[in-house]
Each structure stands twice: as C-alpha cells, then as structure tokens.
Amino acid sequence: MILTLICWVALIAFIGLSVKKFMEYGKMPQHGRQDLYPIPLESDEKMHYGGSYMEDDKWYEKERHHNLKGEIIDMLVEMLFIKKLFVNQNNFWWLSYSLHLGMYVAIAWSVLMLFGAFLPAGILHTAAVLLGTLCGIVAGVLMTVGCIGLLCKRLFVKEFKNYTTPQEYFNLVILMATSAAGLLVWLGDMQFEFGRNIAHAMFTFSPLSAYYADGVPVMLTVFILLLAFISVYIPLTKLSHYVGKYYTFHKVIWDNEPNMPGSKVEANIIAAQSKPKDPNALKWSAPHWNPAPPTEEQK
C-alpha cells in the first residue's frame, strides 16, 4: 500500500505545488509595462510584422480588439513545439525538444494507462493498450535521448559547461534516470501492464503488491520512487518553467494593456496607491532618493 500512497502523494504534491507556484506569481503586484513585439494579441494584420495599436494616430480613442485566436495559436505553437528555440537555436532544439516531447508523450501515456486500467475489454481497451505501449516506448526513448544529449552538451561544450550548476546536472540526471528506469521496467513488461496496474491501484486504493504474485519488482519500485521524487521536485525548482512561461509571455512581454481611465490597469494602480505606507518599509539609500530638505537659501 505504501507504493500506492507514494503515487498519490506525488500526484497531489505535483499539482498542489504547481498551483501554489502559479498563485504566488499571480499574486504579485502589477508591474510596469515590458512590451516586446511581436505580440500575438494584436490584429492579424499587425501581428505578423510585429505592429501594435500604437501605430494608429490617436490610438487612445480607438477601440481595442484582443486577438484571442492569435494569442492561443501562438501559445500552442510555443508550448507544443518550442518554436522560439527552433527558430533561434535550431541545433539545441533537437535535444531540448526530444526531452520535452518525451514528457508530453509521457503524460499521454499516463492517461492511456488510466483508460486501459478501467475500460472493459473490447476495442477501446485494446486501442488504449496498443497506443499506451507506443507512447510509453516513444516517451522513454525521447526523454532518455534528450537528457543524455543535453547532459553531453553541458559536460563537454565549454560555453554550456561554464554556466551549468551542479543542480542543473542533477536535474538532467534524475530525469534521465527516471525515463531509463521506465524503459528497464518495460523490458520485462512489453505492454506496460505495470502502468495500468499503478493506475488501477491508485484509483481503487489497492496495494500495488496485489497485482504481483511474487511482489512488486525491484525495478518497478525504483521507477515509482524516482517518478514520485521528480513529481515533488519539479515544481520546487526551475524545472517548473511551465508555470513561469505562462507569466513571462502573457503577463510580461505580451501585456501591452494601456492604462486607460476606467480600465482594470487603472483600478490596480489606484488600489496599490491607496495601500497604507509602512513606516518600516525598506528605502533606497542614494542621496537623490532621500533629498535633504531645502535650505533657507534654496527656499
């Protein structure tokens, strides 16, 4: 039962810590504008060359139309394909995308394992098993190859090595170990029955050992422990950039909402300005931040 509990704790921790991080960034005060174009919220005509509403005379008298379609397409392309890396550093993209695509496929694998665990025997169940097998192999291979490639790059290419911290090596090693462990388990369980067993055990609150007459295989235990570890570890580290990336794009470089009378931006400013000043708050120390009172002569 311990392994089943560990799986639940890991899943809840992953979701909970990710949400916590998301909310922490979300609660931060509205910042000054950091527009960086092209911004996909602009009209179809303008967004393709990076134009903005500020290209119009008396822009402030014109109604703004947010291009939700443009925003969603741009967001999906970036999320699914890491387009910026592909365009701007193609040779790095192959390795990074291998790892990321492997993770996306691993999520699909998890869902298929869940379906496979509970669908009654039939065509859908068979499809979930076959697709799950395919996804499991692809995810394991892509993640392992991506991690090894990135690790080699960071170990042997000076311009990467000089900037890589021990923790960043660890991040790659632990991800690689998890995916490799998954592949090793698969070698003895070619249809990923273990995935469906885990899903079934979790959602029926059963001990995983009930599915194995000879006890849970050691390699599977290692895999579950590694998976549980990274599920808790990822949201606590910069590997949680799936949270950060939302904010850096949507709330930082794409946030070009002007401060118009009656706008939400204005309301945020008024709310911030009406907060009582804390007399013990930190203050910058340079003389021009703390000017001496004017002398009689200056008055």
């Binding site: 005060p29 509205q30 910042h31 000054g32 504008r33 527009d35 960086l36 174009y37 092209p38 911004i39 303008k46 060359y49 990076g50 134009g51 500020m54 290209e55 119009d56 005379d57 822009w59 970036e78 910026k84 890396l85 365009v87 701007n88 550093q89 790095f92 311009e159 990467f160 000089n162 900037y163 890589t164 911290t165 021990p166 923790q167 910069k238 950039h241 950060g244 990336k245 904010y247 850096t248 794009f249 930082v252 470089i253 070009n256 002007p258 401060n259 118009m260 009378p261 931006v265 204005e266 400013i269 300005q273 930190l282 203050k283 910058w284 120390s285 340079a286 003389p287 021009h288 931040w289």
Partner: protein, 559 residues
C-alpha cells in the same frame, strides 16, 4: 584572462583587469572595411586609472563617478551596501513595479544560450564570454543564491556548505566582484533583442538595468552623463543639454528665422507656437536636436504648420526636452521626469503629447510612465509617426519623390519598434516619398537592413551609450557596440555603392540617440570619405516637398 575561458565566478578573481579586448578578437567587418588597415584601433585607458577608478573589468570605464575603495573598510562597506541594494531589488517595498518580471528572469533561465546568438555585442566581440548576455545575469543569480533566502531576505555572511555550491551560489563576493558587475551592466545596450528570442521570454536587459539601478539607487554610482549631467541637470535647468528657458526660446526663434529665410520663398513665415494653452498637440522634442540637429525640429515646424495643426511647444522645465535618461539606470529619476512632462501637458490643457524623433523618449513617456499614476490623470501619449504617416499619405503635402533620388537605408530604433510595435508608419512614409526604381532593395525604394523591423539590431548607442563620452568608454561603444550596425549599413548599401563616392548615401535614423550613434560611427570609421550622411525621417519628407525650391538636405545643396 582569455575571453573564451572566462567563467561567471571568475569575476571575483582579485587583481587587476579581468580581461582585455583586442582588435583581433572583434568580428571582421564587411567591405570596404575588410582590410586590416581600415580597422581603427581600440583606445585603452591610462594605467593610473586603475588606482582611482574601476578599470578592473575590461579596462573600459562607464561608471565614471565610481571611486576605487582605498581601504579594507571601504571595500567591505561597498560590498555591504551592494548586498543591501540587492535586497531592495528583491523587495516589494522598494521594487514592486518590476518584481514579477524580475523574479521570473532570475528563476527560470535554462542556460540554452539562445540569447547570446541574438546579442550584437557578444557577436561583435567574437564570442567573448564577458559579453555574453547571461554572464552578468548569472553572476547576479549566484550572488542571490548565496546571500539571500527564498523570500529575498539577506543572510549575513551568506549561506555555507555544499548545498550553496549545489544550487549554483559558488561565488566569492569581494569589492571587485561588485565593481566589475556594475561595469558589466554597461556592456549591454538594453535593446532586449535577447529577450525577444528567449524560449522562456526571460530578459537579460531587465537584469542589466536592475544592476544599474542598484548602483545608482543604493550606491549613488551612475555615469555622470546620465545622472549628474543628465537627469539632474534636466530637472534643474529644464534640459539635459543644460539649455534653460531663455536660450531655448532664442534657439527656436533663430530656427524659425532660418526656416523662413531658407524655405519661406518670401511668402511663408514659419513660427513655432510656444506655450499655447488648449492646443491639440504638445510636441516634445529631444532638446539635443536643437543643438546637434536643428534641421529636425525645423522640419517638424514646417510640416506641422503646413498641415495647419493645432500644436505647441512648451518652454517649461522638462516641457521642451523629451529625454528621460532615468529609463536607463534609475526609477526615481525616470519617474520625476515623466511626471513633470505630464504636468506640463496638463497645465497647458493639450489633448495629447506627441513624441518627436527620439526612441527612448517614446518608451519613457508612453510605456514606462503608463502605469505610474491612474489613467484619468494622464495626458495621452503617442508617437509622431502615425500622425505624420496620415498627413503624408492623405496628400497634405505635395510630394515629388524624384527629389529623394539617392540611396537611403532605414534604421529601426529599438525603443519604439521592438518595444512599442511602431513598425509600419515609417515604411509607409518612405515608400511614398522615395523615388522608386533606382535605389533600394527588396523591391522597395529604400534599403532595408537584413534584420529589420522588430528583429532589428540596436545602433549601439542605446541605453545611454550615445552620450557617454567620458573616460575611454567611447572606445568600447565605437569599436564594439556600434559594430553590428556598421556591418548592417555596409551590407545594405553593398561594396559597390559604398565605394561610389559620387553618390551621397543617407542613413535614416528617426531617433536622436540613434543619430548620436550614427554620428559616432561616421566619425570613428571616417565614413565621410564614402559620402555617407545621416539624419531623421522628417527631413526626407521636407526634401520631397515641391513647395521648396531649395533642397532641404544640406548635402544636396552643396552639390
């Protein structure tokens, strides 16, 4: 130390200069500068500067009011004050206006080096590690990891043990680390091209500016041309040029007379409206234009008057100078100037502020100042470009494009192109006023640089570099920061046209700061010998107007 071997933690190595750039390091320039004798040398500082100032990074000095600590106590004080500055950078009390964006950039860098490929300075130095956009950012991250807890609170003495090395806080913090990091923040033009290409949209330019802020706002160190002779002078006299109200009014009067004499044709008297209450437009010029490029405000007066606009200049403090150098190094200074400019507009009762040809002034007034106070208290700010585009394309002026029958290359100022999305109006104007078919590329009657629009490269004068002329900083600016822009200009015109000295070539840089950069490029690389000229956009419009029998461009008049 060799530029390829330098690691972030090496910034703490005690001793003399950390590294030195040589001409051999620099990326070769295109023809006709592809011969060794065409490459101007790099002027290094005097050896004795190292004793008094901070020449310990690469020998260039940007922060010219920094005095080297002379005693152990002074060294320790510098380090402690810097750490307090970092604490304030990380605090909601003192830095709420940027903290979300800052924390994201501090936390999430994947070290993929995509930003490096986008940086013109890193490229110009042939890939010298000191100038990699992530170098200074990584040093800052290492300091934060070692000396601050997760809430941004300072841990006296810093964290100890294996864990701090594990997370990447393996750095010695001594006075040279601090001093060098401050200088390193002035090896970046804050053009944010790196942020544009970052797969995580992280902003090394923002981090460089935060380091500059710590130095100015906490330690009181900022380049004299930006602070003492920049924002402080502007707030005291009305303009960063030091020009007070009376000389300003005299200058405008003189320019009006000049415009009338040269272009009035005995019929038109040009008169710049001054302090007109209730006008539609308050036009804000960069006051540097009146001294360095007076033909630019003159052209604005002629164009606005011919269009019959309701407009005015202001003679109030900050009302006749749109510059806001605080944008580059100090929030308080930026705020003070921006607030004063808005107050001037409110007092006059104008309906809008129109920013003339100055890139950073666009960003300061329209973007930085946008969220300083409630929207109801703000006079709307817009660029001159859409207004001018509409005037030109609607036939307000009778234009003869054949008058602009010479090669023009368009430079895109980062501040209003990449950072405000004003890309097309200037192109619409050029398409209308330039003679087609003779010169130009991409099927246009003018030359686009290879990377243009929002993908442009900085002129190399951005973030104050154009006006930072003290010590030997111009050597870094001219040899390194300007290098990519020079390459782009040479490539756009091509070797054949460049070497044809009979043909005048014009760099259209509709931004005062960028024009300052072009002036430095032309002087440093002696481009006059290739008949290369530079200026703004409104001058080209005036030059194409059939109303004037005299060419507006002086270099055409000479011919």
């Amino acid at each position: 130390m060799n530029g390829k071997d330098l690691r972030p933690r090496d910034i703490s190595i005690m001793g003399d200069q950390l590294t030195q750039l040589t001409v051999a390091d620099l990326k070769p320039l295109p023809a006709p500068f592809d011969k060794p004798e065409m490459e101007p040398g790099i002027r290094m500082g005097k050896p004795e500067w190292a004793e008094k100032y901070n020449a310990h990074l690469d020998g260039f000095i940007a922060i010219d009011n920094f005095k080297r600590p002379q005693t152990k106590e002074e060294e320790d004080e510098l380090v402690q004050k810097f750490l307090h500055g970092v604490e304030k950078m990380l605090s909601l009390d003192t830095n709420a206006g940027i903290l979300q964006a800052l924390n994201l950039s501090m936390e999430y860098c994947a070290k993929c080096n995509t930003c490096s490929n986008a940086c013109h300075i890193f490229e110009a130095t042939g890939g010298h590690e000191l100038y990699r956009p992530t170098y200074r950012a990584e040093v800052l991250r290492m300091i934060v990891k070692k000396y601050f807890d997760k809430n941004g609170k300072l841990i006296p003495g810093g964290k100890k043990g294996v864990m701090v090395k594990f997370i990447g806080g393996d750095i010695d913090l001594n006075w040279q680390t601090v001093a060098r990091l401050g200088e390193a923040a002035y090896r970046c033009n804050l053009c944010r091209r790196c942020a544009q290409t970052c797969p995580l949209a992280l902003d090394n330019g923002l981090l460089a500016r935060e380091i500059r802020k710590i130095f100015s706002q906490e330690l009181g160190y900022a380049p004299i041309p930006l602070h003492e002779k920049g924002t402080q002078l502007q707030l005291k006299t009305g303009s960063s040029t030091g020009m007070s109200k009376v000389p300003f009014l005299d200058t405008v009067e003189f320019l009006d007379e000049d415009a009338t004499d040269l272009f009035g044709e005995g019929v038109t008297e040009y008169k710049t409206p001054m302090d007109v209450e209730g006008a539609d437009i308050l036009l804000l010029h960069n006051a540097g234009e009146f001294n360095a490029w007076p033909e630019n405000p003159m052209a604005f007066t002629m164009l606005f008057q011919e269009a019959g606009l309701s407009w005015t200049l202001s003679s109030e403090i900050c009302g006749y100078d749109n510059v806001n150098y605080g944008l580059w190094y100090d929030d308080a200074q930026a705020r003070k100037v921006a607030v004063k400019q808005n107050e001037v507009a409110q007092k006059l009762g104008v309906k809008r502020i129109v920013i003339a040809e100055c890139g950073h002034a666009h960003k300061a007034a329209a973007i930085f100042a946008d969220r300083l106070y409630p929207g109801k208290d703000r006079v709307p700010v817009q660029s001159f470009l859409p207004l001018m585009r509409d005037l030109v394309l609607s036939g307000t002026y009778e234009i003869d494009p054949s008058r602009n029958d010479f090669p023009v290359v368009l430079h895109d100022p980062c501040n209003y192109v990449r950072q405000m999305g004003i890309v097309k109006p200037q192109r619409d104007i050029l398409k209308y006023i330039m003679k087609p078919g003779h010169y130009g590329n991409m099927g246009l009657p003018y030359y686009e640089m290879k990377e243009h629009g929002v993908n442009n490269y900085c002129c190399g004068g951005g973030s104050g570099f154009a006006i930072m002329n003290s010590m030997n900083f111009p050597a870094f600016r001219d040899n390194v920061a300007h290098r990519k822009k020079l390459s782009q200009i040479l490539e756009a015109f091509g070797p054949e046209l460049m070497e044809n000295t009979d043909v005048p070539k014009y760099i259209c840089a509709p931004c005062s700061n960028c024009k300052g950069a072009m002036r430095s490029i032309i002087e440093h690389y002696e481009l006059e010998r290739f008949n290369v000229h530079y200026g703004g956009l409104v001058e080209l419009i005036c030059n194409a107007m059939t109303k004037y029998s005299t060419p507006f461009m002086e270099f055409l008049r000479d011919e």
